[in-house]
């Protein structure tokens, strides 16, 4: 990798000032994608600003009945958190499915959504749960945050501080893994709220995408059968050596049905009378 300077800021404001001073500088979170990109010379920053250890970015707490996940929370911390399991259990499962334990011990929420890899898991969770991305200067709704491939609404000197999630007991994320990287070949997050349903699909190839036809059908009737006759247009997907566009589009529909069925089965199990043990 090319040589670079490395610094740890005392706070987010100092990190933002360093970003403004040097247009070639980059923020370093867990580095699990950035370092790989630097080895391949896809990225060659002049300065890495390591955000580790800033207390303002590492909080994981209840937030007005919902959840606040600081940008520098690792996937492992989210996966192991009893608070996350209680308020937004889907996110604990999603975080636990990323990469492997070694990667989860380093990789972070903020790094993942700022990078916006088209096959990453976190964007699906943030989008389906309608999370609010909070930066050092504003709040951005998930729908406005994510652009296309590796693209977000972030300004060059803007820093993600964390994401606020509403309480969402009825949400589920399923992915079909690319077995070497464990990125999503295709992944689907389904979240059911009082006001409607959100379905976010990752892995199709051009960034996180909401399947609005499925959302409308599920809002009318929350059942796997409601999706009969609906298909994801393969034109929306890209193919590569791991899977064709048609296969990814097909998987999106299959995973959506399975996620819906899982939520219904789980709700039924909770509602069923418990056997009395003597």
């Amino acid at each position: 990798m090319n040589s670079f300077d490395y610094r740890r800021p005392r706070n987010v404001a100092e990190a933002a000032a360093w970003l403004r001073d040097d247009p070639e500088a980059k923020l370093l979170a867990g580095g699990q994608s950035l370092l790989a990109a630097m080895k391949l010379r896809f990225a060659a920053p002049s300065l890495l600003i390591d955000l580790q250890g800033l207390p303002e970015l590492t909080a994981l707490r209840e937030d007005g009945g919902g959840l606040w996940v600081g940008a520098m929370c690792t996937h492992a911390a989210v996966a192991a958190s009893p608070l996350v399991r209680r308020i937004t259990p889907m996110l604990a499962g999603l975080a636990h499915g990323i990469g492997d334990q070694q990667v989860r011990n380093r990789g972070t929420l903020g790094g993942s959504i700022s990078n916006a890899d088209p096959a990453a898991c976190w964007p699906a969770g943030v989008m389906a749960l309608n999370g609010t991305v909070c930066t050092d200067r504003r709040e951005i709704a998930a729908d406005d945050f994510f652009g296309g491939l590796f693209t977000t609404a972030l300004e060059p000197d803007e820093i993600v501080c964390g994401v606020r999630f509403l309480r969402a007991p009825q949400a589920h994320y399923l992915k079909f893994e690319q077995p070497a990287s464990r990125f999503a070949l295709t992944g689907v997050a389904v979240a059911r709220f009082d006001q409607g349903v959100r379905v976010a699909v990752t892995g199709l190839g051009s960034g996180i995408w909401r399947w609005q036809a499925a959302e409308q059908a599920l809002a009318r009737s929350f059942a796997a059968k409601a999706l009969d006759g609906l298909a994801v247009d393969a034109e929306l997907a890209s193919g590569d050596i791991h899977a064709s566009a048609e296969y990814r589009a097909h998987l999106a529909a299959v995973l959506t049905r399975r996620a819906v069925q899982h939520l219904l089965d789980t709700a039924a199990a909770v509602a069923a009378p418990q056997p009395v043990t003597p």
Binding site: N2, F4, Y6, L48, D100, Q101, Q102, V103, N105, R106
Partner: protein, 170 residues
């Protein structure tokens, strides 16, 4: 460019219990520092893309892939490598003993990473059962396909480690 490439930063670390203070280029990867600068060649470099897990070490007690980590990122922290599990000529660490007993290796290339991952698992509350161990070991690849012995070894290694912890604590 010359100015950039000449840049070094101060690094302080505890590696296998010993204090290390050096000046390094910020681009130095932990695996290269361990192997090339410190001669701790027990940590292996396999894929160099954070997939195979041969370079797994403990960073502040948590397993991490040292090929995908800058030394700068772990400065101020504590590193344990395979050499630090049981220094000296005494009996091997329980996880190492279990790998021997269950023949949890063939060529041995992946073994240091597997052992370090197994040691970390003991502290993560992973049940000492084959299915749970296979899942928790997903970041470590063995190209000799010796997983059966490895999984058995990690199960027993964790049991031994937990038994020892119980003996020590009241």
């Amino acid at each position: 460019m010359t100015e950039r490439s000449a840049m070094v930063i101060p690094i302080t670390l505890h590696i296998n219990g010993k204090h290390v203070g050096v000046q390094l280029a910020p681009s130095t990867l932990l695996v290269d520092f361990l192997r090339e600068d410190l001669g701790l060649t027990g940590t292996h470099q396999g894929c160099d893309t954070a997939q195979c897990g041969a370079c797994t070490v403990l960073v502040n007690g948590a397993a991490a892939k040292s090929c995908n980590l800058l030394v700068a990122q772990v400065s101020g922290g504590s590193i344990v490598t395979i050499e630090g599990l049981q220094p000296g000529d005494g009996p091997l660490h329980p996880m190492q003993q279990a790998f021997g007993k269950h023949h949890g290796l063939q060529c041995g290339y992946c073994t240091p990473g597997m052992v370090m991952r197994g040691v970390a698992m003991a502290g993560e509350g992973v049940p000492a059962e084959p299915d749970a161990v296979r899942c928790a070991l997903s970041g470590n690849l063995c190209r000799c396909t010796g997983y059966r012995g490895i999984v058995d070894a990690v199960c027993e290694g964790m049991q031994q480690m937990r038994a020892q912890t119980q003996e020590v604590s009241p």
